[in-house]
């Protein structure tokens, strides 16, 4: 079956994540820390915080996704597992899709679930909290999908962490704009539907193409 690689990679990476809890908990705590530092930087003015909350939470999500991305393929590359995956008869794209989905479950989903709580700290009205969660739910898979291409391209190169952020952050801009824009539009009394539709479109396109492009990038790295 074609999807067996997907399920195998998903099960294996989830098991690994369950045994190394600190790895993904670090990303989550990073998200909480960054968003909590911001009010300390700009002051406790509730109106200002409400205005910048969508952007702050979204940028926190972008940055904490980057933390997990560096490890997406690195350890498998170091110990040769990745090479075995590339040589195996199962399609590499499905294996990559499984790893991407795990990355989202482990790094993206906790951020989505934590976001409403942090939104309360920023004094967001309850309607916007739901919308913020929805926009992150649609948006964080895009971050995992686009980011995995960057992770594969920077595999095993010098200072790959800094390079990864330089390559990937410009490509995150559309997701940031529409994700944070949906909540901001709602706060401003405009319908957020257009933003959410575009975010959904970005999600479909990136999830569809990314495993394939990532597999090509991995083969280049393994050559």
């Amino acid at each position: 079956m074609m999807t067996s690689g997907f399920i195998t990679a998903l099960r294996r990476d989830l098991l690994l994540a369950a045994r190394h809890k600190s790895e993904w908990l670090t990303a989550l705590f990073f998200f909480v820390m960054v968003t909590n530092l911001l009010p300390l930087g700009v002051g406790p003015d509730a109106a200002l915080l409400r205005k910048i909350a969508p952007g702050v939470l979204w940028i926190g999500a972008l940055l904490s996704t980057l933390l997990g991305l560096q490890r997406l393929f690195a350890s498998d590359y170091a110990d040769g597992t990745l090479e075995q995956m590339a040589l195996s008869p199962t399609s590499l794209s499905w294996l990559v899709a499984g790893k991407m989905f795990t990355h989202w479950l482990v790094c993206g989903l906790p951020v989505v679930l934590m976001a409403p709580l942090l939104g309360v700290q920023f004094d967001l009205p309850s309607r916007s909290l739901g919308l913020l969660t929805l926009s992150l739910l649609l948006g964080t898979p895009i971050l995992s999908a686009v980011g995995s291409v960057g992770a594969a391209l920077t595999l095993g190169v010098r200072s790959s962490g800094a390079l990864l952020s330089l390559l990937i952050l410009p490509l995150y801009i559309p997701a940031l704009i529409f994700g944070a824009g949906a909540v901001e539009a709602d706060l401003a009394g405009i319908s957020p539907q257009g933003h959410l539709s575009l975010l959904g479109a970005l999600l479909l396109v990136s999830v569809f193409f990314s495993p394939w492009i990532t597999a090509v990038a991995l083969r280049i790295a393994l050559e």
Binding site: L171, L202, I213, A221, E223
Partner: protein, 247 residues
């Protein structure tokens, strides 16, 4: 039979492209100097003073062609990248690598002249206009490409990884452009409009076009020069270089 078919791949090999590039460089360099001199003369002396912006607008003759070139060079890089990945030609990757610094230069030049122009016209070095923002992001994409290529030691891997990045980038450029445009209209309305006066004097358009052609020639000359250096670097141990190129 074989004589009637054009050999499309004749110059795809570095050993035959190297001397061709060497022959072409003087022509394009000369064309660049002449065209830019003509364009600057038209722009700085011949073109009439603008009614609204007086003499300050004349930076347009560098600013607009530089912006055009920065966008165009990224497309050319994507073209060579696609060719390189499809046909596995070594020269394509070298061309992409040779074009990137010039593209980054033009992107930077466009931002810099834009800031110099913006200060007297809108009273600000930088505004979060859609075009400025997307030009800045294009500059970041160039930097990312150059950083990725210089971080990978194996030149073949660097070429292929860079090619993939350029292709991903070129798909994203329009998405980024339109999202930034929408973000801009949502945030600040049409307070700053970069739209120029609809009727542009013919002489101004001509000056800009000639400057753009001059930048083209400059880009080609620079890319050929750089690609020759890259070829020398990578093929230093090969037989044909020892025989011909280092005379």
């Amino acid at each position: 039979m074989s004589n009637s078919v054009i050999n499309w791949f004749k110059y795809a090999s570095p050993s035959s492209f190297y001397p061709l590039a060497g022959r072409l460089i003087p022509y394009f360099s000369l064309a660049a100097v002449l065209l830019m001199a003509l364009g600057l003369w038209l722009g700085l002396f011949v073109a009439p003073t603008d009614a609204q912006q007086s003499e300050g607008y004349r930076i347009i003759f560098v600013h607009v062609p530089a912006s055009w070139m920065s966008m165009f060079i990224y497309c050319v890089m994507a073209f060579w990248s696609a060719l390189g990945l499809a046909f596995n030609t070594r020269l394509s990757g070298m061309m992409t690598a040779a074009l990137a610094p010039t593209g980054a230069l033009f992107a930077f030049l466009s931002l810099w002249t834009g800031a110099l122009w913006g200060k007297p016209m809108w009273g600000a070095w930088w505004v979060w206009d859609a075009r400025l923002t997307s030009q800045l992001i294009l500059f970041f994409l160039y930097l990312g490409f150059i950083a990725l290529q210089s971080a990978i030691d194996d030149p073949r891997r660097a070429d292929r990884a860079g090619a993939l990045l350029a292709l991903v980038g070129v798909v994203n450029v329009p998405i980024i452009y339109f999202s930034v445009q929408w973000w801009n209209t949502l945030h600040q309305g049409a307070s700053v409009s970069l739209t120029k006066a609809p009727s542009m004097a013919h002489i101004m358009l001509l000056g800009m076009l000639i400057m753009a052609l001059g930048f083209w020639a400059y880009t080609i000359a620079m890319a050929l020069k750089r690609v020759r250096c890259i070829i020398l670097e990578r093929e230093l141990t090969s037989e044909w270089i020892k025989r011909n190129a280092l005379d």
